[in-house]
């Protein structure tokens, strides 16, 4: 019975019926490449992959990405990050960073660190708990799923609903 179930599941996955949205991953890191956030958006920059100084990835290490601020992530066990920016014709841009923190405990500790996620947030639910920030005109969300800390940002808070829905997609369908 169990084998039959797995066979059916594999067949469905093969047909792409369960994979919505289609999730590409980086072979080097296993990190997913976030899908297009919505109509009108295309990839503006990236995806870029950064590792540690010892194990840099194709775009280098975390200090090439966020320089000194990277130390805080390193201290929490950082392994890799995928960074991507989407933009539309109206100069709206959505940034997504998915950090691989090695394990769930590290990811949660990073999430709790005010150097990463400062105070002043509002808790929201995107299928799981998330911290949302509104610093006009920016709106961004942090959440943890497994070993990953995820940051989603939009430069126009009028699109905060879209961003929240997109974060939920990443949390529930991508990771």
């Amino acid at each position: 019975m169990k084998k039959e179930y797995i066979s059916v599941l594999a067949a469905l996955m093969g047909l792409g019926l369960l994979a919505s949205p289609a999730v590409r991953t980086s072979g080097q890191t296993g990190l997913p490449i976030p899908p297009i956030p919505g109509p009108g958006f295309t990839i503006s920059s990236g995806p870029e992959f950064y590792g540690t100084e010892r194990r840099p990835l194709e775009n280098g290490h975390i200090f090439h990405f966020i320089d000194g601020g990277g130390v805080v992530y390193i201290n929490h066990g950082f392994r890799a990050v995928v960074h991507i920016i989407f933009a539309d014709q109206n100069q709206n841009s959505i940034t997504v960073d998915i950090f691989d923190m090695g394990n769930a405990e590290n990811a949660l500790n990073t999430y709790a660190d005010e150097s990463i996620c400062p105070g002043g947030y509002a808790m929201i639910s995107i299928g799981l708990e998330a911290k949302s920030y509104h610093f006009e005109p920016d709106y961004f969300v942090y959440f943890v799923k497994g070993r990953n800390l995820v940051y989603c940002h939009v430069n126009n808070d009028a699109l905060s609903g879209l961003l929240t829905a997109y974060a939920k997609t990443i949390a529930t369908e991508v990771l």
């Binding site: 503006s44 320089d67 000194g68 150097s115 996620c117 400062p118 006009e136 920016d138």
Partner: protein, 322 residues
């Protein structure tokens, strides 16, 4: 006899003068101490320059820059002001920008970049103006289009357009291409701890870490002497004519922005950094956050490298409000 007495008196006076000169050797004359010029720093603020949605008024930003340059130099025209700062028509000016877009985007405002370009073009051709940062993606994330052409101001990336000078371990944009430099920093709080050392802010000193060979940049983490030494590198030290901080929007806590709606200008990088740092601390006090202690690299920059002063008694801070 009288002549002899006079001669003895003359010798006594000469000997006294010589002894006095020896005793005072190495000390500046009293009059020199009294008239030693202070390092001038100008801050210009305008509530009309930027709104709460980070949208700038180009004309107001330009007016702020003009007013700041004139106040800094004491001149009456922009062209005279740049000339007083050492700019000549043949110069190629490199402007180090900080496009770090992590969390809160604090890349320089395009309106300030445009105002600076227009201002500089009163002396140098547009194509002799080069804005640069570490990587192509930094420029793109900062909202700037790379331009390596011979038309208009250039936007270059260290990793793609220049290569590095192995001796100074700097981008060749600094060592070879440019004859003058402007340090265009952001008003940024990083509050990052390296072991037992905390780096509170990322201003003029940290900005030029992005002029280094990329693999040298992490050496600045927790090494305050290294940070101070970056601005003491010969090409940066000799060529820099202005330090300009975009404080239209800044962060006073890591990742938490506010609209200070101002700019900071100075020739002395240490004094300029001191003033910008104080701007952040003033906001922290206002928000009931603990103020930062003065960054240790400022004293190192002053005492060891002689780059300027962080002693408020030696800084003439002109605060302008529009």
């Amino acid at each position: 006899m009288i002549r002899i007495k006079k001669r003895n008196m003359f010798f006594k006076v000469v000997i006294f003068a010589a002894l006095t000169a020896v005793l005072l050797e190495g000390r500046p004359a009293a009059s020199a101490v009294q008239t030693a010029p202070k390092s001038k720093v100008v801050t210009v603020r305008s509530p009309n320059a930027v709104n709460s949605r980070n949208q700038c008024q180009p004309l107001e930003v330009k007016a702020m820059l003009d007013q700041g340059l004139l106040a800094l130099t004491g001149k009456t025209s922009i062209r005279e002001a740049w000339t007083a700062l050492g700019l000549t028509p043949a110069d190629i000016v490199g402007i180090k920008i900080n496009c770090n877009s992590w969390t809160i985007k604090l890349s320089p405002h395009p309106e300030l970049v445009a105002a600076l370009t227009e201002s500089l073009s009163s002396v140098v051709p547009l194509n002799n103006i080069i804005f640069y940062d570490m990587t192509k993606s930094d420029l793109k994330d900062g909202g700037f289009t790379r331009n390596t052409s011979s038309v208009g101001p250039r936007f270059l990336a260290n990793d793609a357009d220049a290569g590095y000078d192995e001796q100074e371990r700097l981008t060749r944009i600094v060592t070879s291409t440019c004859t003058k430099l402007i340090n265009l920093a952001s008003l940024k709080t990083v509050d990052t701890t390296y072991g037992n050392k905390t780096l509170a802010v990322s201003l003029f000193f940290k900005n030029h870490v992005g002029s280094l060979i990329a693999d040298d940049a992490p050496k600045s983490h927790g090494d305050f002497d290294f940070i101070a030494a970056v601005l003491a590198k010969p090409s940066i030290r000799k060529k820099t004519i202005l330090n300009l901080c975009d404080g239209l929007r800044g962060t006073y806590k890591r990742g938490v922005p506010w609209y200070w709606a101002g700019i900071v200008l100075g020739v002395d990088p240490v004094a300029s950094e001191y003033a910008a740092f104080q701007v952040i601390n003033e906001k922290r006090i206002q928000e009931k956050e603990k103020p930062f202690e003065m960054p240790p690299y400022l004293l190192i920059a002053e005492k060891k490298y002689g780059l300027g002063t962080c002693d408020p008694a030696n800084i003439d801070w002109v605060r302008l409000e529009r």
